[in-house]
Subunit: 551 residues, 2 copies
């Protein structure tokens, strides 16, 4: 701005800064978004401010402004809001891509071959680290063992995470490095799988993984930065412009800050600190403000109520159908969970608790019931996964406006395993998206990447078909719990934003929102489910800036 | 700004942002600063940009601009640049003020009385924590013991840092909590003081402190924030507008970030990470950019070559004059030190090494000699304290442009103790400020707060008088090593900025520099040394904004 009128004062006064009023236009688009009520809105242009906020959507007949800083012509392509993944693990997504990845293996033999090839290709690595294995997908009928791994790698330690991160698999060299023997006792909330004579069999479930992890070399900060950049590129290429990071460690946070400080942070990250200690070390007496032009915020804390179904760590009210002696792993007593949630809520941290089994879900709901008296206002208590819920407990989600943060592709990936673990009778309240919505829960969809692919089009298609990519089962699995195409879209965009107190910042294209959008190669509202799954993102824009483009 | 001329382009183009040209004037001042050559410049007004940078200094006859955003009339008061403390411990300054502070006690009995009163006044504290004791000042002729403390506090653990942070004093309850017994061995770089039968006597020197510290409860993040705010208020009230934080931990850094994120960071902090691990966890592959409008930057790493004189931890070439069997504590071998320095320099972190004794100084200078071949360019290797240097080694500081980061008040506080520890013969190269300058070292002055008061006027007066606040000794102690009043002022302002690669950002009042200045109650260039020590800061401004005012 030019200098203002002469102004000579004896006292100090500060003028309000003059805001930049430059505007830009993304024009000639086949644009679609949802409004706050979930109704489809179509438009042909987005007028935005210089700092990347939507001024207004323009229809074909609306006059374009005469004066613009810049204009982009999209030549009629399809434009839609960027997706918000309500539950993922950003650094793990990057590390999975940079380390040994077994998620595409279909048998133990195939995994062994891939491990052997990786070891041969990486002779300098002192530890072989990676993950993605799934004994269910391998149809192995048991967990893999240290002996299975020893047959491939005998001379250096190997430590591989299960696809869901709820179990790890070690070879004998790794067991030796960690000092694990038949005498080692399973910790609370964890289980060491045992073999003949009580010897450790090689797999460590949930909290027992820590016994191994303390022996595993930690990644260097530069490795963390590489992992972050890899994860960010993956998310942007799939049209995910914002993600809730479910379990941010102090070192993860420091990596995000480095990226933000250097202007390399593109995707928006809503952090939920890994447990109380890391959350409070990062945020001190409360959540951080939005940082880096709304690209990073510590919003709350991630807690764990139980493990996962695949490793029988999910905490059930009644025993597993396929393991009558087991009910899974409750990670803490009712009192301890309430104390942790209370400690977080006291400082206005949002609380997100992982709960897969019906017993764990009930425990968290009980805690919310009890804490809601003390901690009033808009708290948006989150239950992550809310996967297997006692039908009697389902209405309790709506009672306190609890956020059900769910992952449609878990349903399609897990249905056979879930049927085995639970039996048909307990599936009524499983993956109950429709009922959650009908009961008034806040529904937010995500992928739990890297457990599943972060591709939101796969989740979107699963959500209204209850079918996998193979179209199975015909008619969908328990199709009464499907949501509509628009409901699913909403849960994958503004649902995730609302779940993170970000609904005024992003999640749809509307005045005042950040201009986060993607250009895709088809109309997702007109596509068949199979076509929808094939959608390719061509460009990704965050805050009115193009941050990724398909080459 | 108003909208620009019509501009409709088919391709995307971005306009350069139009910078705000608003200006402000601090006028009617008795202003003084040094230029880059150390010559005094006088002025009566500072014209600055809206974002707090100096546009130019104005003389009495210079015309003032007609158009200004705001103007402050200082009514002829004295204005000078804010001080840069080249070596302090920000969080420790705050904790010292919030915890039990023994730095004003003149005898063990006085300390005991103060401890007893503090315990009575703080019945809820499970541990009694604090510091500031100095057996030299108490003229105790020995270290204090656990038994001394037990006589005052028997029922709860007590752990108190020595004034210089290089030793800690525990009572028996604290020894029990930490599991320390006669069997506990002193670690490398540390010493457990032993009593009858090899029992721990109560004092732990240098690295041995870690044995106790692991039992001491860590401060909560909110306590860290309180400590930071207390330290910041203290620094600003004394006219210190920037400080090098010599040993920033990850948790310290997270606290600084919280302050910056919330707009509560006023003082400028140049961080040197506490050792390689914390430095790299914070900065990753290199120093951070300046953050928060030049208020925070991780510049490099703080390493330790040895301990301190008071606790006989300083590493000497020949034995202590008052302890013929001891040469102090070298913290690491030559090879390990070089490897640490190399690791840091590789990623362009600046290296600052604590060295008090002549052997430690020689070790660091040897390492710099060797590393300079590999790590070229402008490195500004820093030696912190450079307190007791073999005269043969003094010229080596100039050779590689090494920064001698020194503390004038250490000389005046320590001279009697230093004479006892070293004997007269080894004092030639001690506190050798004049020779350092003459030999071409970069001289930067600081206080080592909270070891000494952060009041820069005390340090300034000491620097050109070589006398304490009591005017002793007459004529000054080894006055040939005094610097001039202007040289000292420069070392306390632009010297500290240059030492931290910040000389283009702050340190003097000149076009382009941040407008960091203070209003004081007298002309420091005309004051006698005694008057100079009494200087009161009336206002402190950082980046053209008043951030502190005497009430």
């Amino acid at each position: 701005m030019a200098r203002l009128a002469p102004l000579l004062l004896l006292a100090v006064t500060i003028m309000a800064p003059v805001s930049a009023q430059a505007e830009a236009l993304v024009d000639n688009v086949n644009g679609m978004t949802l409004d706050a009520d979930g109704k489809v809105v179509r438009f042909t242009g987005i007028l935005m401010t210089a700092d990347g906020k939507v001024v207004r959507l323009l229809g074909a007949k609306d006059k374009r402004p005469d004066r613009l800083d810049w204009r982009a012509d999209m030549k009629g392509r399809v434009l839609m809001p960027g997706f918000v993944d309500a539950h993922g693990h950003v650094m793990e997504l990057g590390f999975r891509a940079l380390e040994l990845d077994l998620s595409d293996t279909r048998s133990l033999d195939e995994a062994k071959a891939k491990i052997a090839a990786y070891v041969a290709a990486n002779p300098d690595r002192k530890w072989i680290l990676g993950g993605g294995w799934n004994q269910e997908r391998w149809r192995l009928g048991r967990f893999p063992t240290a002996a299975d791994l020893d047959a491939v790698v005998g001379d250096k330690p190997v430590w591989l995470a299960r696809i869901d991160g709820h179990a790890g698999w070690a070879n004998s060299a790794a067991l030796r490095e960690a000092g694990i023997s038949a005498a080692t006792v399973s910790p609370p909330g964890g289980r060491i799988e045992k073999g003949a004579g009580g010897k450790p069999a090689g797999v460590f479930v949930d909290a027992a993984q820590a016994l191994m992890q303390k022996a595993v070399p930690q990644p260097l900060p530069k490795d963390r930065d590489s992992a972050f950049l890899k994860a960010q590129a993956t998310l942007l290429s799939l049209g995910v412009t914002a993600a809730a990071d479910m379990g941010t460690s102090v070192d993860d946070w420091l990596s995000y800050r480095r990226m933000g400080d250097r202007g390399a942070l593109r995707v928006r990250i809503i952090s939920y600190g890994m447990g109380i200690d890391d959350t409070v070390r990062i945020g001190g007496t409360g959540p951080t403000p939005w940082l880096y032009a709304d690209r990073l915020r510590l919003a709350g804390v991630k807690l764990y109520g139980d493990g996962a179904l695949g490793s029988r760590g999910a905490w059930l009210k009644a025993p597993y159908a396929d393991a009558p002696g087991e009910k899974g792993l409750g990670f803490q007593t009712d009192t301890v969970l309430r104390n942790l949630m209370s400690r977080a809520a006291m400082d206005k941290y949002q609380v997100a608790v992982h709960a897969i089994g019906d017993r764990a879900n009930a425990q968290v709901l009980d805690a919310i019931d009890e804490l809601s008296d003390t901690y009033g206002g808009d708290r948006r208590w989150r239950i992550e996964h809310a996967q297997v819920v006692d039908p009697a407990d389902l209405p309790r989600f709506g009672k306190h406006g609890v956020i059900a943060s769910m992952q449609p592709t878990h349903q399609t990936s897990d249905r056979t395993m879930a049927e085995a673990r639970l039996g048909a009778a307990r599936l009524t309240g499983a993956y109950a998206w429709h009922t959650m919505l009908a009961d008034g829960a806040g529904l937010a969809f995500g992928s739990d990447f890297p457990v599943e692919s972060p591709d939101p089009f796969a989740g979107w298609a699963a959500a209204f078909t209850r079918q996998g990519a193979d179209g199975m089962p015909p008619g969908g699995w328990r199709p009464e719990e499907a949501v509509t195409r628009e409901q699913a879209w909403k849960a994958f965009t503004q649902g995730g934003a609302y779940a993170a107190f970000a609904e005024t910042v992003f999640g749809r294209l509307a005045p005042g929102q950040r201009a986060d959008f993607i250009i895709v190669d088809r109309d997702p509202l007109a596509a068949s489910p199979a076509e929808l799954r094939q959608t390719k993102v061509e460009e990704t824009w965050v805050g009115g800036e193009k941050v990724w483009e398909r080459k």
